[in-house]
């Protein structure tokens, strides 16, 4: 058993906009690149050129189809990584104290030197956000790029997680969710940001912004109709309209 901090000074996390995420996997690969080079062991790949390649990724994008009752089917791209939960079951289940939640900023990390690769934390995580690296035998997970966000070797504007820096559509936002005045708290407020699987009681720090309503044109038919009010029925009428229009100028 490992204990969680009773309080964290900030709650750093991601806000992911499901209305804007085009499912391009840019975040997935920039994360793989950064974290292969940085925090702890590299993210390895088994059979990378073989029949069944599988590697460690700290962030993956899944796509789900949703078919509403009253409109065409939709596709939602859903990026998923560690949500840095306030009540992180992956931490409390850890037998060695390797998994921990930082008291400064709430980031959940694995201290790899203490990790025995038992996999209990991955089992405890309801989101499937942890992956045991097959080459190293240690648990890997999103670090929120803890080695970037404070890193004075990086220009200040680059002190954000790699996934946020690279996201082409600007669907990923980083900041302090404990500060109601932060830009991302405002975004959560404005856009109805929600917790993933709140019934699990994990109190995730990361939030998702829901897709906006789609395919609403039928409700607008009356509003739109005047924009197509005919000025002519055929070519002759159209030329008459040109004449009338020009003579008004």
């Amino acid at each position: 058993m490992t204990t969680l901090p009773t309080h964290t000074e900030t709650r750093l996390g991601l806000v992911i906009d499901l209305d804007t995420c085009v499912g391009c996997h840019a975040c997935v690969v920039s994360c793989k690149g950064w974290n292969t080079q940085n925090y702890g062991a590299p993210l390895s790949d088994q059979n990378p050129y073989g029949a069944d390649p599988s590697g460690t990724f700290l962030n993956r994008v899944h796509s789900y189809e949703v078919t509403p009752d009253d409109g065409p089917a939709q596709l939602v791209h859903f990026p998923k990584s560690c949500l840095h939960c306030e009540d992180a079951p992956c931490v409390t289940v850890c037998p060695t104290g390797a998994s921990y939640k930082r008291s400064e900023d709430g980031i959940v990390l694995v201290n790899e030197s203490d990790c025995i690769g038992c996999g209990l934390c991955a089992w405890a995580c309801p989101y499937g956000a942890r992956e045991l690296d097959a080459a190293e035998g240690v648990m890997k997970k999103c670090t929120l790029c803890v080695d970037r966000i404070y890193n004075e070797n990086l220009p200040e504007e680059d002190r954000v997680p790699a996934c946020v820096r690279t996201c082409p559509a600007g669907a990923r936002h980083f900041g302090d969710l404990s500060d109601p005045n932060s830009a991302i708290s405002a975004l959560v407020e404005q856009r109805g940001g929600f917790d993933l699987m709140p019934e699990q009681g994990t109190k995730p720090v990361n939030k998702y912004l829901p897709p906006r309503p789609k395919d609403t044109w039928e409700a607008e038919t009356d509003v739109l109709a005047p924009f197509l009010a005919p000025v002519a029925e055929d070519a002759r009428g159209f030329l008459g309209w040109i004449d009338r229009t020009l003579s008004k100028l």
Binding site: G50, P168, D243
Partner: protein, 934 residues
């Protein structure tokens, strides 16, 4: 317990080297982080005009491409039969001498016997120049099987299209409408743009049979039936014209809408613009009611006028458009069923365009002056922007569909106005400002001009005096007169058939023609290995340059191994396909951020070396020594026109001139110091209305984009098409063969039209459309060798709509046989609800041939992956008229990939696979732990 100590300030890298990505055609700026002299991490360059810091999955996975086990290692000579993949390594001297021995006699006797085609080449202004100096007419890159319909339709209509030519005004558009698959062209800018639109609350509408990718985030989805986009667009035009929701002022000032057409059937210029004795296009002046030269001072053209003269009525272009598009055939109710879109949704789409365009015009408080000298206090635009690329292009009605889309944009005044479509310098550039094609070869001499261009009429076709095609791909012939990018997809089949003539050496660069870049893939493999009666290959010699062990490698006799993109010099030039944005002319370089660790050389440097060994003009000094030591030297010192070279930045002896100036020996260093690119910003009063804006025209001349101001009117009515139609009607000295006359009359209409791509006789047998979409995380077959990307897109099921899954009693993972008129493939299926009910699709170019790309023989790409290419033929099935018609657009020759129709049957058997090729590279590693230490 205190938290473990963490180093929060680890060193990121020893050095950052800034160059240009090549993981797709987008060409973003990248920061390559180096550790201990090795590539450690790649991220986007924040200063770069294309990507402004972001980077897609492909770009971030560049480290895996750079270190791919599929990299070729040395020049190779074939030792087994073609296709086997058996080679021996040879030295560069031997390789180059072999190439010289093959090519030198061709140049001296028959330069056209070299066919040089360069695939996804990003150095076409150089490779084309090389081919021109060699003297062969047979050069092109891959545009003909990609998106030439979009590019050519744009050039002929308004002097540019999308992507490299122009961009939606992401900062001001209120409505953005995206047609068809577009995920791989202008990759990051579109994602960034959609993000910006969404952040501003602008609306995004996707028109695509498949609701994936960008269409998945679209606020509204129009699940159109493939091949009917043109019909939908003409219906939108019908609705907008009928409602008077067009921009009359814009049309009158900036387009040919008010120009009179010669209505005299007896005239030599019947159906062309009516011109006066000085050749000036005529309008009716509203003040006098009489004809006048359109751009004379003080003339106010009447766009709705007609002129009755000598018993003949001449009408304006807009008048002709009204006659053409206001007929009931284009009413939403008339097109709804064919398009698979309800008439109510078509009307809603038209109304939303109208609302966004006219309810709240986009206004920028920036005075500007037009070329007539008239000052405008503000820049006013329409707030409706469009984008389309491959999706609507790759049909046999694609040219006219793209024309229709450009017409729609122009009609509402949304081109080069705030909120609409904006050109990127050096565009706008109308067809008349481009070269015309050159194809007459003379032994021992360079070609008289560039290969590719924009014909203005039949006299510009690449035909010999007896009417036979001058080019091996039959570009610029009556079958496809405006084939502005050539027809790379026809080269191998024509060469194998010795039609129109036999060639000797096929020289390809970066074009996987034995696999995903050819229609009829099995057939092409057979053609590449076909022998004549004496046992010789019908294509006697094949030289290929690639960096990787692609499927095409196995079919070459001589391999010139290229470097990876991080090991080479390149220039992304304003002479060619630059990386400009709407507010800046920009070009860029690649430079070797690491040296190759194999016996490989950058292809462009090899080509210069080969050129010097062949004694080609421009590459050889009078004493026979090479003019350029390598490609970097060429980039610095070559001048295409006095003062204008491959790179525009930091010219002149002191490096203080941009655009025009003498070569600067330090130029590449200046690019490197600036992050690998140069951006020259458009002045504020020149940012919009570029074709007509005096400040833009002056700026473009000043920086060398053009030699004199060239204002022009957009051409809704395409006179070059009408000139071909006139020929088909029997007029003029250049006459098409009789069997093409009907096709030319009906397909080469000067106003955009729509015709059905479906062969109505066999629709019942092949009721389903089959398409590919582009995964955002994979570029063509290249991506398959990438350890990270293939974990994302290593499999490609055929996605079927729910109704088809039920009808055929299928569940995910079952197999179906997909049969087209040409052939059949067996593929795994997966269900997708967000799909047009008559359409099935898969990801493009995931399937691989066993043995290629250093993949294991049991890799799913080879065992389960598949290409639709196998069931698409370059020719249509016989129609019983004794002719074989091309499966392409009759205007440009663009390969009609997306016209494919199939039927499906459930099956349990796996199809037989093409036998694997031997791999010329060692086996790939079993585990990767890619941490680069200092």
């Amino acid at each position: 317990m205190p938290d473990p100590h963490l180093d929060l300030n680890p060193a990121v890298s020893d050095e950052v080297r800034k160059t240009t990505c090549y993981m797709c055609a987008c060409r973003c700026g990248i920061n390559v982080h180096m550790k201990g002299g090795k590539v450690a991490y790649i991220e986007g360059n924040r200063d770069h005009p294309i990507n402004k810091g972001v980077l897609c999955a492909k770009g971030s996975a560049g480290i895996m491409q750079h270190n791919s086990p599929a990299r070729l290692r040395a020049p190779l000579r074939r030792v087994g039969p073609r296709g086997s993949g058996k080679f021996e390594e040879i030295s560069w001297d031997e390789a180059l001498q072999t190439a010289v021995d093959w090519l030198k006699p061709l140049r001296e006797k028959a330069p056209e016997k070299l066919a040089f085609f360069t695939g996804r080449d990003q150095s076409q202004s150089f490779t084309g120049w090389w081919a021109q100096q060699f003297g062969t007419p047979n050069f092109a890159a891959h545009g003909g099987f990609c998106s030439v319909n979009m590019a050519a339709a744009g050039i002929y209509t308004m002097g540019g299209a999308f992507w490299e030519f122009g961009t939606p005004d992401w900062d001001h558009a209120k409505l953005f409408i995206l047609f068809g698959v577009a995920e791989d062209h202008d990759s990051n800018p579109i994602k960034m743009g959609i993000g910006r639109l969404k952040a501003r609350g602008a609306k995004v509408i996707g028109v695509n049979p498949v609701r994936s990718g960008y269409n998945a985030v679209a606020d509204e989805w129009v699940g159109i039936t493939p091949g009917t986009d043109g019909l939908l667009i003409l219906s939108l035009i019908h609705c907008l014209m009928k409602a008077g929701q067009i921009d009359l002022d814009y049309l009158t000032r900036y387009t040919d809408a008010p120009l009179l057409l010669d209505g005299d059937p007896k005239s030599d210029t019947y159906g062309l613009l009516l011109r006066d004795a000085e050749g000036r296009a005529q309008v009716i002046d509203r003040a006098t009611g009489k004809p006048a030269a359109a751009d004379s001072p003080g003339v106010a053209p009447d766009p709705g006028a007609h002129w009755r003269h000598a018993g003949v009525t001449h009408v304006t272009v807009l008048h002709r458009m009204a006659e053409t598009y206001l007929i009931p055939d284009y009413a939403p109710e008339a097109v709804s069923e064919r398009c698979g879109v309800s008439s109510a949704q078509i009307r809603a789409l038209a109304a939303q365009i109208s609302r966004a365009a006219y309810d709240e015009p986009v206004v920028i408080d920036q005075p500007w002056t037009d070329w007539r000298g008239e000052r405008h206090e503000r820049m006013v635009g329409r707030g409706v922007a469009f984008h389309a690329m491959r999706g609507i292009s790759a049909h046999s009605n694609g040219f006219q569909t793209c024309r229709a889309l450009h017409m729609l944009q122009i009609l509402i005044g949304a081109v080069e106005t705030p909120g609409g479509m904006r050109f990127k310098p050096p565009y706008p550039k109308p067809a008349t400002a481009h070269p015309r094609p050159h194809a007459k070869a003379t032994p021992g001499q360079p070609l008289p001009g560039p290969h590719l261009g924009y014909p203005q009429g039949p006299e510009d076709l690449a035909l010999s005096d007896d009417g036979t095609p001058l080019r091996i791909d039959k570009a610029f012939t009556w079958e496809n007169p405006l084939s502005a990018h050539g027809l790379m997809h026809m080269v191998i089949s024509n060469a194998a058939a010795a039609d129109p003539y036999k060639i000797d050496t096929l020289f390809l660069y970066m074009a996987n023609m034995a696999w995903n870049s050819s229609m009829n893939t099995r057939g092409v493999m057979e053609m590449l290995t076909r022998t004549d009666d004496s046992g010789d290959y019908v294509i006697p010699r094949i030289i290929y340059s690639d960096a990787y062990s692609s499927e095409m490698v196995a079919y070459a006799d001589l391999i010139l191994p290229d470097t990876t993109y991080l090991e080479r010099h390149d220039c992304i030039s304003l002479l060619d396909r630059p990386v400009s944005e709407a507010d800046a002319a920009a070009d860029a370089i690649r430079w070797p951020v690491v040296a190759p660790d194999r016996n490989v050389r950058g292809f462009q440097s090899v080509l210069l070396d080969l050129g010097a060994r062949l004694g080609l003009p421009g590459m050889t000094e009078p004493d026979g020594t090479p003019t350029y030591s390598d490609y970097a030297d060429y980039m610095t010192r070559h001048e295409r026109r006095p003062g204008v070279g491959p790179l525009a930045g930091w010219r002149g002896a002191h490096g203080d001139q941009h655009g025009r100036g003498d070569p600067n020996p330090d130029q590449i260093d200046r690019y490197i110091a600036n992050g690998g690119f140069c951006a020259q910003h458009v002045p504020p009063d020149a940012r919009y209305f570029k074709p007509w804006n005096a400040a833009y025209q002056d700026w473009a001349v000043q920086i060398g984009l053009m030699d004199k101001a060239t204002p022009y009117r957009f051409t809704l009515y395409a006179e070059p098409l009408r000139r071909f139609q006139r020929a088909a009607e029997g007029h003029g000295p250049h006459q098409p063969p009789d069997h093409l006359r009907d096709q030319m009359k009906t397909r080469l209409t000067p106003l955009p039209t729509w015709y059905d791509t479906a062969d109505q006789t066999n629709c019942a047998d092949y009721p389903v459309h089959a398409l590919t979409q582009r995964p955002m995380a994979m570029y063509h077959s290249w991506g398959g060798q990438n350890a990270w990307l293939r974990q994302i897109h290593g499999r490609n099921p055929m996605y079927l709509p729910t109704a088809l899954m039920r009808a055929h009693d299928l569940k995910d993972g079952d197999w179906v046989c997909v049969t087209s008129p040409h052939g059949a493939i067996t593929v795994p299926v997966a269900e997708m609800a967000a799909l047009n009910p008559h359409t099935i699709w898969t990801w493009n170019a995931i399937g691989k041939r066993g043995g290629a790309w250093a993949l294991d023989k049991n890799a799913p790409e080879a065992t389960k992956g598949f290409l639709l290419n196998h069931v698409i033929h370059e020719l249509l099935p016989p129609r019983g008229d004794g002719l074989r018609w091309s499966n392409s657009d009759p205007v440009t020759g663009q390969a009609a990939w997306f016209d494919l129709r199939v039927r499906i049957e459930k099956t349990t058997a796996l199809a037989d696979h093409i036998p694997p090729q031997a791999s010329p590279v060692p086996p790939a590693p079993k585990v990767l732990r890619w941490q680069v230490k200092d």
